[in-house]
């Protein structure tokens, strides 16, 4: 058995009186796609933010690819997100003034990749998400599904070990959502990344290797 890519152990997070996460512990094998499922307000986003280093737990540790996320400082977290973990947001999170290609190039620029390499990789990724013909369009000129596909391409750009997607299909209709989910499934297989996807759509769950249930901030197997 290989070492787990992600280890969460004993994570607590409260907002005042609201105990958003209570003693969360689980592990994820590399190269798997895990669905995080729970009702609204159950703590999915909070958990994903803690894992991605956008938020800090009150107690407990998160280890990604052997790195203790909870022990990192600001710069360490930035570096973590540049190199190991990337995000796909529910609201796509593209930068409005940049074209699809430029959005995909952002992580590569952050990693200071050379221009020819960058351009080649952007082309490849856009091809992968099926948007080769839309490289120069701005987010405002793309449909919701297309935007989310650009966001996925962007998340993959820096070849992360862990892809975190918080309800990536939440803003999409069922059919498009399914296509996007299929795309994530595809890249998990083709790129060998590990994906952690929150959703409350049962169809999505079917595509995952494993489903983690969360309710009231607790795992419920």
């Amino acid at each position: 058995m290989t070492a787990p890519l992600l280890t969460v152990s004993g994570v607590h997070r409260s907002f005042g009186a609201v105990r958003a996460l209570r003693d969360i512990s689980f592990e994820v094998e590399p190269g798997t796609m895990v669905a995080l499922v729970g009702r609204s307000g159950s703590g999915k986003t909070t958990l994903l933010n803690v894992i991605g280093g956008l938020d800090r737990p009150d107690s407990g540790t998160v280890t990604v690819d052997g790195v203790d996320v909870t022990a990192l400082d600001e710069d360490g977290l930035s570096q973590l997100r540049r190199e190991r973990v990337s995000y796909v947001f529910q609201t796509f999170g593209l930068i409005p003034v940049l074209s699809a290609a430029e959005n995909v190039g952002v992580p590569l620029r952050l990693a200071r990749v050379d221009r020819p390499d960058r351009e080649r990789r952007v082309e490849l990724l856009l091809d992968l998400v099926g948007l080769a013909g839309h490289a120069r369009q701005r987010p405002g000129e793309l449909s919701g599904g297309q935007q989310q596909r650009v966001a996925i391409a962007r998340a993959l750009a820096a070849s992360p070990r862990l892809l975190i997607a918080d309800e990536p299909t939440g803003q999409l209709d069922a059919e498009t959502g399914l296509a996007v989910m299929g795309l994530i499934r595809g890249v998990v297989e083709s790129e060998g990344v590990t994906a952690l996807v929150s959703t409350h759509d049962p169809v999505m769950m079917a595509l995952a290797d494993r489903v983690i249930h969360i309710a009231d901030g607790r795992l419920t197997t």
């Binding site: 986003t45 933010n49 991605g52 956008l54 938020d55 600001e74 710069d75 930035s78 570096q79 973590l80 997100r81 540049r82 190199e83 990337s86 995000y87 947001f89 529910q90 609201t91 999170g93 930068i95 409005p96 003034v97 940049l98 430029e102 952002v106 992580p107 620029r109 952050l110 200071r112 990749v113 050379d114 221009r115 405002g140 962007r154 820096a158």
Partner: protein, 1042 residues
């Protein structure tokens, strides 16, 4: 609805506060300017009047030829007319009257054709106009005092009884007796120029001598005014001068005064009727007051022009604040609309809110503008101009504040009700078109305004018209609008360059700056505010520099003294000692050029000074080289006469009837001042005759001698003349000049043909003159032998002003014949220059005073042309009571610190301060709104692994990329506007175009400070906002859907 508004106000108080601040600022600006153009303007006219030179506001009535019986009543009636014209101002009047000429039997010899005439004068305030040398002042009837020189000439002393003969002319008053009770010496600058003999005490050739006799006039015999009026003498002239007390005037009273003084001439004519032959009221007062008024109106126009820029800025700032408010409220209003609120209700809500804001702003702005105005008036230059005022509230001010607040609030409502394209900001085609049209219209108007300003007449009288008021604001706005169009393509280029970089910070900043739709209002505000601040700063310094230049050129030198009387021998030393600088005698007189006496109003003027010291003396633009080439090649010298020495003349004439000569000696002092001294008439009888009283001081050199000959026309027609002049103790060594003194002789007027074969020879301390003189023609022709130590200088080189050149169509090399006094002078134009120092704007010519004097002397005109003195690097002129003194610093202070103009620099300060405040406020509003709008985006960038530092750098870079070009472009627009309109807006104190023409002046120091304040201020504001925003960006923002 009220509940909604108050709840909303509580939630959005920072926004509302900024709206209120902008509204209050605009209304305060308006109120302050209203106070400046009404309250301070009116005060300025009053202060200017109260500070006016008494000579500029006195009112004088002249009456001529009054019968003895009417003397008292005419004097009293004239006084009454003047005082009633000046009422309600109190006035002090002084009367000066002179009687008709009477014969002086003791000095009259009918047989020899010699007539001496005298006159009585009565002068109010005699004790202030003359110094008592001996005896006492006249007190009772029959007392008289004389000038010391008159007494000497007539051989009279204190205690002498003088018998005055009958009056000359029709209906003569009988003879009378007076007793000399004192001797006085006239004080300079005390009004003796209006004495019949000009205060000289003696005239060997009075102009009004009616008899073809040898007439000498002596006088005045000063008696008390009452005595004169009661003496039974007819009055030749009576003048009454009234000096109004304008120490506490009011504007309307001054306007009435101007009208009533203008009408006084007619009233005096009506009152005096035919008791006098001529009557006239003359006064510079109406013109002085009128000039004050028009200057004040001109200043008010400029103040309004600058205020307009401020108001425009405020309106744009308000538009920006309004836009941000609607942006923030977009969602809320969409919700309200969705819930069924009608547009009318929304508008009503906006109106109620705006009304509340307007009322609050007005309530704050009234006291604020009063306090600001008062503060301004307590600062220079208004304080120095005597315009300091306590905070006051006036009706006009309240009206201006109220209207301003309401207008601005209405603008706010209009902007709030207009539906905004929330978020997307994709401008509709129609809006773009409208904006292009507005830009075009703006350009057209700005061009028209600029052209109108350029085309304004050079003369006085341009008032505060709409063009002057609108032009600067139009030009600045049009320029800023143009740069806003040029900025996006520029940013796109920058973006292309930034995209080349490998990292994210620079490209992101570039992309954001170039691609995000920038708020037009924010850009306009920042650009225009910077343009206005630059314009205000540069205009201020252009104005000040122009005042300095105008003062420099109008005085022409550091210190100018205009003499009350012709210069006296030895005056150079007195002037040099008093001023302690480089001095030059100056001749400044009107001349006739050919037949031209001055066409369009102004007479041609000749200014002559010592061009050897031009560099030390001349001031004003272009004065460095103006006098080049005018200096004569060599100096004039002559035998040095010991002080107190008395030349003698011995002469013979071959004619059988007596020939008289009245020698005139021309003496030159160390500073080159030449004064003439006349000897007594001398009969050429072979015996020596003394020429006394000429060499009064040391250091005088004899440089010319004029010998006018006279003799009856009976007898032999011509005469050989041989005269020897002995100069006891004369030192003929040439002094500073190396060459020996060579004398040359000529007839003063060769064309008259009355004097031929003139010759002069010098041997030791003797000069021998010979000539043949014709006496056959009884006409009064020139028979004058002139001997000089210098050759005939030939045509006098002139540097002429452009106006002079165009008036006589002269070019370099043109020969001109001038008439100086009565003497014809040949001159040649050597160069044409824009203006002559001391005579800007008039058709003037500059010459060397030495050359001028030589030319005049060569023509036998020994009267000094000198009318004043100039001193360069002068210390002061305290204690010099020779005439009117003007200094360059004084004139500068007068122009810069005049109450009528100091509002302009004051309001410039306000404009610059307001522009800076609005710019920084605009930057804060814009950046804060922008960054808040993009909080989510910032959080996402964090999510992508961008460090806080990099995010901060990208945001700072983005704003710098937008703000810096805006500030630079604004500064450029301001500079261009200054260059284009500031010189055109500046007028001289008479309202005419200034001479020298104003040119834009760049105060680099002030610009540096301004740039530092703007860039550092904006940078600091952006940095703070961005840092706060970058720190706040965290996971929480990611929860918010965009």
């Amino acid at each position: 609805m009220i509940a909604l508004l108050t709840r909303r106000a509580r939630a959005q108080w920072p926004l509302l506060l900024s709206l209120l601040a902008v509204l209050t600022l605009g209304a305060t600006l308006l109120g302050t300017c209203a106070l400046l153009v009404t309250h301070t303007s009116e005060r300025a006219v009053e202060v200017a009047a109260s500070r006016a030179d008494p000579d500029d506001v006195e009112v004088t009535a002249y009456t001529v030829t009054i019968a003895a019986a009417d003397a008292r009543s005419v004097a009293a009636d004239t006084r009454t007319v003047l005082t009633s014209a000046i009422a309600p101002f109190s006035a002090t009047t002084s009367t000066r009257a002179s009687s008709n000429m009477r014969t002086l039997p003791s000095h009259t010899d009918e047989d020899r054709g010699l007539l001496s005439e005298v006159y009585l004068s009565g002068v109010d305030g005699l004790r202030d106009q003359a110094r008592l040398i001996a005896g006492r002042w006249p007190e009772k009837s029959g007392d008289t005092v004389l000038f010391d020189n008159t007494a000497r000439l007539l051989g009279l002393k204190v205690g002498s009884r003088v018998h005055l003969g009958a009056e000359l002319g029709r209906d003569p008053a009988p003879p009378m007796n007076v007793t000399v009770v004192g001797l006085v010496h006239p004080l300079p600058d005390a009004g003796w120029d209006r004495d019949p003999l000009g205060g000289t005490g003696y005239d060997p050739d009075p102009k009004d001598a009616v008899y073809a006799q040898d007439v000498n006039a002596y006088g005045p015999f000063l008696v008390t005014l009452d005595d004169l009026l009661a003496s039974g003498s007819a009055l030749d002239r009576l003048e009454v001068t009234a000096r109004p007390d304008l120490s506490a005037p009011t504007g309307p009273a001054l306007d009435r005064l101007r009208a009533s003084v203008n009408g006084a001439d007619r009233r005096l004519g009506g009152v005096l009727g035919d008791r006098v032959s001529i009557e006239r009221v003359a006064s510079p007062l109406p013109k002085t007051l009128f000039d004050d008024r028009s200057q004040q109106e001109l200043t008010a126009g400029s103040v309004l022009a600058l205020a307009l820029i401020g108001i425009l800025l405020t309106a744009i700032a308000l538009a920006l604040a309004g836009r941000l408010t609607t942006g923030v409220r977009a969602e809320e209003s969409a919700l309200l609309t969705a819930l069924g609120t009608s547009r009318g209700q929304a508008a009503l809500a906006a109106a109620v809110e705006a009304a509340a804001l307007a009322a609050l702003a007005a309530a704050l702005a009234v006291p604020a503008s009063s306090v600001l105005h008062s503060l301004l008036t307590h600062m220079q230059p208004l304080a120095g101009a005597g315009l300091a005022a306590r905070p006051a509230v006036t009706g006009v001010q309240v009206l201006a504040v109220g209207c301003g607040a309401v207008a601005l609030a209405l603008l706010h409502v209009g902007l709030a009700v207009r539906p905004v394209a929330a978020g997307g900001e994709r401008r509709g085609r129609r809006e773009l078109l409208a904006r292009s049209g507005a830009d075009l219209l703006l350009f057209a108007l700005a061009a028209v305004g600029w052209w109108q300003l350029r085309a304004q007449p050079a003369g006085a009288g341009s008032r505060a018209d709409a063009v002057r008021v609108l032009a600067p604001a139009l030009l600045l706005t049009a320029g800023t609008a143009l740069t806003l169009r040029l900025l996006p393509p520029l940013l796109r280029r920058a973006e292309g360059l930034a995209g080349q970089a490998r990292g994210l910070v620079l490209p992101l900043a570039g992309f954001q700056a170039a691609r995000r739709p920038q708020a037009y209002a924010a850009g306009l505000l920042i650009g225009l505010a910077c343009a206005a601040a630059t314009f205000g700063t540069a205009f201020g310094s252009t104005w000040t520099v122009s005042q300095h230049e105008q003062a420099d050129l109008s005085v022409g030198t550091d210190l100018a003294l205009t003499l009350d009387a012709p210069p006296v021998t030895g005056q150079s030393a007195e002037v040099a000692a008093a001023t302690g600088g480089v001095i030059s005698p100056v001749a400044d007189r009107n001349v006739a050029v050919g037949q031209w006496l001055g066409g369009s109003g102004a007479s041609p003027r000749l200014v002559a000074m010592d061009t050897r010291h031009a560099a030390d003396l001349l001031r004003g633009r272009g004065s460095d080289s103006v006098a080049d080439g005018l200096t004569p090649a060599s100096a004039v010298t002559g035998p040095l006469l010991p002080a107190g020495s008395t030349p003698t003349i011995t002469g013979t004439a071959t004619r059988d009837t007596p020939v008289l000569v009245t020698p005139r000696l021309l003496l030159q002092d160390d500073a080159g001042l030449r004064t003439a001294c006349s000897g007594p008439p001398i009969v050429l009888d072979g015996r020596p005759h003394r020429v006394p009283g000429c060499v009064t001081v040391a250091g005088l050199r004899l440089v010319a001698v004029a010998l006018p000959f006279s003799g009856g026309w009976e007898g032999q027609p011509n005469s050989g003349i041989d005269i020897t002049m002995t100069l006891p103790g004369a030192d003929s060594s040439p002094g500073s000049a190396a060459e020996p003194v060579t004398w040359s002789a000529r007839a003063a007027s060769a064309e008259a043909g009355q004097l031929t074969a003139p010759a002069v020879t010098a041997a030791g301390n003797r000069l021998r003159f010979r000539a043949d003189v014709q006496f056959a023609d009884p006409a009064d022709l020139s028979r004058v032998l002139v001997a000089t130590t210098f050759p005939d200088p030939g045509p006098m080189p002139l540097v002429v002003a452009e106006r002079f050149a165009t008036d006589v169509s002269a070019r370099a090399g043109t020969k001109l014949s001038l008439t100086f006094g009565l003497t014809p002078i040949n001159a040649v134009v050597s160069r044409i220059v824009p203006a002559i120092p001391s005579a800007p704007g008039s058709p003037a010519a500059l010459a060397d005073v030495d050359t001028l004097s030589r030319v005049l002397v060569a023509h036998g005109d020994f009267d000094s042309p000198v009318t004043g003195w100039w001193a360069g690097h002068a210390r002061s002129a305290d204690g010099l009571h020779l005439g009117k003194i003007t200094t360059r610093t004084g004139e500068t202070a007068r122009l810069v610190g005049s109450p009528l103009r100091s509002s302009l620099p004051a309001v410039l300060k306000v404009l610059v301060a307001a522009a800076v405040a609005l710019l920084l406020g605009g930057v804060v509003l814009h950046v804060a709104y922008d960054v808040q709008l993009r909080a989510l985006e910032v959080a996402r960038l964090r999510g992508l692994g961008m460090s806080r530092r990099d995010i901060r750098a990208a945001l700072l870079g983005e704003h710098a990329a937008v703000l810096l070009p805006l500030i630079v472009a604004g500064a450029l627009v301001g500079a261009i506007a200054t260059w284009a309109v500031a010189p055109l807006l500046i007028r001289s104190d008479t309202g005419a175009a200034p001479v020298p023409p104003a040119t834009a002046h760049w105060p680099w120091g002030a610009f540096g400070i301004l740039a530092a304040v703007l860039i550092l201020g904006a940078g600091l504001a952006v940095a703070i906002v961005v840092t706060v925003q970058a720190r706040r960006a965290d996971a929480a923002h990611l929860r918010v859907a965009s």
